[in-house]
């Protein structure tokens, strides 16, 4: 199955965006983002701490709805999902 990952702001600069990737059924959100982020050590360090946990400020969305980073490890991704990963917002 196929999902799309969108990074924004500094995460986008480090990891790119609109990444279409194939995943196997049962893949969890944390696992997916970890795999993609490891393509660039600086990008990985921007999102994850030294223990492999999300930095507390990281915001996740699945199809436009926020997913708590605590729940990401048990949230499966599904075919056609759009996953967004971004730092705290700074509009206005």
């Amino acid at each position: 199955m196929t999902v799309k990952i969108r990074f924004f702001a500094r995460f986008r600069e480090l990891l790119g965006t609109d990444i279409i990737t194939e995943v196997v059924a049962g893949t969890m959100l944390t696992s997916l983002i970890t795999t993609i982020a490891k393509r660039n050590p600086e990008g990985y360090a921007a999102i994850f701490d030294e223990n492999g946990a999300f930095h507390e400020f990281v915001i996740l969305m699945k199809n436009g709805r926020r997913i708590d980073i605590i729940d990401a490890a048990k949230t499966p991704v599904e075919d056609g999902d759009e996953i967004a990963v971004f730092p705290p917002v700074a509009g206005g």
Binding site: E56, F57, M61, I67, A84, P88, V89, A90, G91
Partner: protein, 140 residues
């Protein structure tokens, strides 16, 4: 009008279009690119989600403060010092509701709408830190 767009808008035209029967106060917030030793500012949005969030904020403000009209236009792309970034226009029967509604909207945008700013300088650029009010990415 709720929009995320690259183009600027004519605030005078917005004011004219917003006035209607019962309007007693119009409050305009105009956020502009400040001269903080930068050359330009680059703005980026998760557009679909950001637009939906702006619509939700406008609806909530309208209900809570009895606003008669709300416009929110947030610009993205590359902007020069002095250019408009964000225009919030609200109307109400009285000034108290108009001021409070406008303030509510800007504070909600600052903490909950996926938009980011990068200040471009002669030496490169720096992302404007966001407000860390989310707590584990949870909605406020």
């Amino acid at each position: 009008m709720i929009a995320i767009q690259t183009d600027d808008v004519d605030i005078g035209d917005l004011i004219t279009a917003a006035k209607r029967r019962g309007t007693g106060a119009v409050v305009v917030f105009d956020g502009v690119v400040r001269d903080d030793d930068i050359t330009e500012m680059e703005l980026e949005a998760y557009e679909d989600v950001a637009t939906q969030e702006l619509e939700n904020i406008a609806k909530k403000a309208t209900e809570q403060f009895k606003l008669l009209h709300v416009d929110i236009i947030h610009r993205i792309g590359r902007l020069s010092v002095g250019e408009n970034i964000l225009i919030i226009l609200v109307t109400a029967g009285h000034r108290e509701e108009a001021y409070a509604g406008s303030r509510f909207i800007i504070e909600a945008i600052k903490t909950g709408v996926p938009i980011w700013k990068k200040e471009l300088t002669k030496d490169g650029g720096r992302w404007v830190p966001g407000e860390h009010g989310h707590g584990s990415g949870k909605p406020r």
